[in-house]
């Protein structure tokens, strides 16, 4: 059972799409799993043949459970289906339904009078360890961690709880810093108007696609904002997978990844974004789309907000937010004129980068939006 984000604890197998003996290739969808975020298609990460299916339809199992065994076609080795995606161990801590507490932690908690229900476990299977209790004891007076989510609740409240847990963890663990900068969008909008004029209707672009591309390529200049914070260290990602925050109709939020956004042209990005938005709302996202994002972009301009100050989605280290593009007074060469302006913000993890570098990213994004034809 792959972890499909920092907030996922368990999933229920809805459907097997392959049977023992079937040949599978990397990228094939082999199963559908139901999570707090909806039904997710599980991809396979190895070429080979299905040996055994280990989980029955309807079974709910914690993250990390082997779903199926795949026998490699050439090597004869077996591998588990859909192993948790590599770069995010910190995101894959299942919160067990029963409180798992190591013996040492239990004794320490008893000695110091610590309420174990308020301690977050980091040990094997999410168990509370001696160190976790020590940390909790040191931080008395701090808000208690959210209780583990129980299954069975309806989808919306389960998703609410999952978002809450991930965001609470982010705010608890990540020392955020925030920067904002105003970007002149005249050049981009003019180019986009002309471009959409000549594009057939299905190929027209939304401004957000240019924003995503600008963020993705700007990260080449400031790579320390693209990746994960795991095991006390920054792990930069060579690939840029941009998580796009998509609000769901009826509430909730999901941020699936556009893979390799820095290397895709605008038409492809637009197609991908349209496809992701549709599938996010239909509940047919794939596991890699939920687990792979190396940075998140959120755009609340549609709702008229001026600027957004987001909470980083762990274990990522940065989030770029955009407000609405609106005509505002702008001083250029001593004259006040109306121009289309956009406020871009950066929320970044101070453990991984400093404000100076964060400022360089916003600057790089802004520069790219002055020459939209190069995006």
């Amino acid at each position: 059972m792959p972890s499909l984000g920092a907030d996922m604890e368990a999933g229920t197998l809805v459907k097997w799409l392959k049977r023992p003996g079937d040949t599978v290739r990397r990228g094939d969808i082999i199963a559908v799993v139901d999570t707090d975020k909806g039904a997710i298609e599980i991809e396979v990460f190895e070429d080979g043949a299905i040996d055994t299916l280990q989980i029955e339809v309807g079974q709910k199992v914690p993250v990390g459970t082997v779903l199926a065994v795949i026998r490699g076609a050439l090597s004869g080795n077996s591998a588990s289906a859909a192993p948790p995606t590599p770069p995010a161990p910190a995101a894959r801590e299942p919160q067990p339904a029963r409180l798992l507490v190591s013996p040492a932690a239990r004794k320490l908690a008893a000695d110091r009078g610590i309420d174990l229900a308020a301690v977050r476990g980091t040990g094997p299977q999410g168990a509370i360890t001696h160190e976790d209790v020590e940390r909790a004891a040191g931080a008395t007076g701090q808000a208690a961690a959210p209780a583990p989510v129980r299954g069975g609740a309806d989808r919306a409240s389960a998703m609410r709880a999952a978002i809450g847990a991930a965001m609470a963890r982010s705010k608890r663990e990540i020392p955020h810093y925030y920067l904002s900068s105003t970007i002149d969008m005249n050049a981009t909008l003019a180019w986009l108007r002309a471009e959409n004029e000549r594009r057939p209707m299905p190929d027209r672009l939304l401004p957000v696609v240019l924003l995503i591309k600008a963020v993705a390529t700007a990260l080449h200049e400031v790579p320390e904002l693209n990746g994960y914070w795991t095991s006390g260290a920054l792990q930069q990602s060579p690939a840029v997978h941009v998580g796009c925050a998509i609000s769901l109709r009826g509430g909730g939020l999901i941020a699936p990844a556009i893979h390799d956004a820095d290397r895709k042209d605008l038409s492809t990005l637009m197609r991908d974004l349209r496809d992701l938005t549709g599938r996010a709302r239909a509940g047919t996202l794939r596991s890699s789309e939920l687990a792979d994002s190396t940075i998140t972009v959120t755009n609340l301009g549609d709702r008229g907000v001026d600027a957004t100050f987001g909470i980083i989605y762990p274990p990522q280290v940065a989030l770029v937010g955009f407000g609405r593009i609106a005509e505002r007074p702008w001083v250029a060469a001593g004259r006040i004129e109306a121009r289309s302006l956009l406020t871009a913000t950066l929320s970044a993890d101070h453990r991984a980068s400093d404000g100076h570098r964060g400022g360089l990213l916003l600057d790089a994004i802004g520069r790219r939006l002055q020459t939209p034809e190069t995006l």
Binding site: E93, P103, E131
Partner: protein, 327 residues
């Protein structure tokens, strides 16, 4: 310091014992003219003569029994058994006689016998020459079981074993004989009581002995690169176990991985795990992990043999697991 090998260190220990104590003699299959199945006693026949370097018939029960008799009679025999697999032919002598006579005689007789044998896999000697059965002997009261994993122990354990009034079994891992390293010119006899901390660390205790010590130290180095500071304990003596040293380590790290080339079921690793849980339950932060051999007769083909016995990746994975990390 001198550069030497594990094999030469044992030979030097035998030579020293033969020189210092006239009661000492070496006996076993091919130890004389051939120089020993693993070449340990090469040259000793020429140096000490056929009375003290004695080739025996291929009958483990006979020559181990003869060793017990000689020890009873006041000698200090060193009996070499080619491998632990073959020692099963002498199991009756070792378990029913050597281990019991002090008790059966109400303390009137003791058996100051040393039995050396090769153990373990890794040299493609297949299922009848490559098992790790030292854990079975560690089950038996009345004998001491040791496993030198370093040159110092190869050089220093024999003399201390000979001084013990009761039987001592020395297990030499096949893959160690060619191990080369530095040894002090004046290397001394060493104790047979204490486990040794071969690498200090604070995050997880890796407990091992004999042939897997090197692999475990290798795993610890890799783990260090990931920010996991592993402590490596070399048991040295498998019976009696030095629980205070093991416990002190686990008390500090709160996590234990036991690496044992024996099979998992009913193994020495099971015994250590059970004792930690019995005596130190409230010091533990994670389930105890074990890395053991696959439950099959040790295979002959190289890749299968490698796959059957503990290797660094499995040790690393087990250690990560105790830290709550995966992958």
């Amino acid at each position: 310091m001198i550069t030497t090998t594990y094999r030469e260190a044992i030979r030097a220990a035998i030579r020293e014992a033969l020189t210092k104590d006239a009661r000492v003699f070496l006996m076993g299959e091919d130890v004389g003219r051939y120089g020993g199945a693993y070449g340990v006693s090469k040259g000793l026949l020429a140096e000490f003569g056929p009375d003290r370097i004695r080739d025996t018939p291929l009958s483990e029960s006979t020559f181990v029994g003869a060793g017990i008799g000689a020890a009873l009679g006041g000698m200090r025999p060193i009996v070499e058994v080619m491998t632990v697999n073959f020692s099963l032919l002498a199991l009756d002598q070792i378990v029913n006689n050597a281990a019991t006579i002090r008790h059966m005689s109400g303390g009137q007789f003791s058996i100051p016998l040393v039995i050396r044998m090769a153990t373990g896999a890794g040299r493609q000697l297949a299922a009848q020459h490559a098992h790790s059965l030292e854990g079975w002997y560690a089950h038996v009261p009345g004998i001491r079981v040791v496993a030198p994993a370093t040159l110092d122990d190869a050089r220093g354990m024999l003399w201390t074993a000979l001084e013990d009034p009761d039987p001592v079994l020395i297990f030499e891992h096949q893959t160690l004989y060619n191990m080369e390293g530095q040894l002090a010119n004046n290397a001394q006899a060493v104790d047979l009581d204490r486990a040794a901390v071969r690498r200090p660390g604070k995050d997880v205790s890796l407990i091992t002995y004999g042939g897997t010590l090197g692999k475990t130290l290798q795993a610890a180095e890799t783990l260090a690169g990931e920010g996991i500071d592993a402590e490596v304990i070399d048991l040295r003596t498998l019976r009696p176990l030095d629980m205070p040293t093991i416990a002190a380590s686990v008390k500090k790290t709160r996590r234990a991985v036991i690496v044992d080339e024996g099979w998992r079921s009913g193994s020495l690793s099971a015994e250590i795990s059970a004792r930690l849980v019995e005596q130190h339950f409230y010091d533990l932060d994670a389930p105890i992990a074990r890395v053991c051999s696959a439950e099959v007769p040790i295979p002959y083909p190289k890749h299968l043999e490698d796959a059957a016995i503990p290797q660094p990746p499995a040790i690393i994975a087990a250690a990560r697991e105790t830290m709550g990390r995966r992958g």
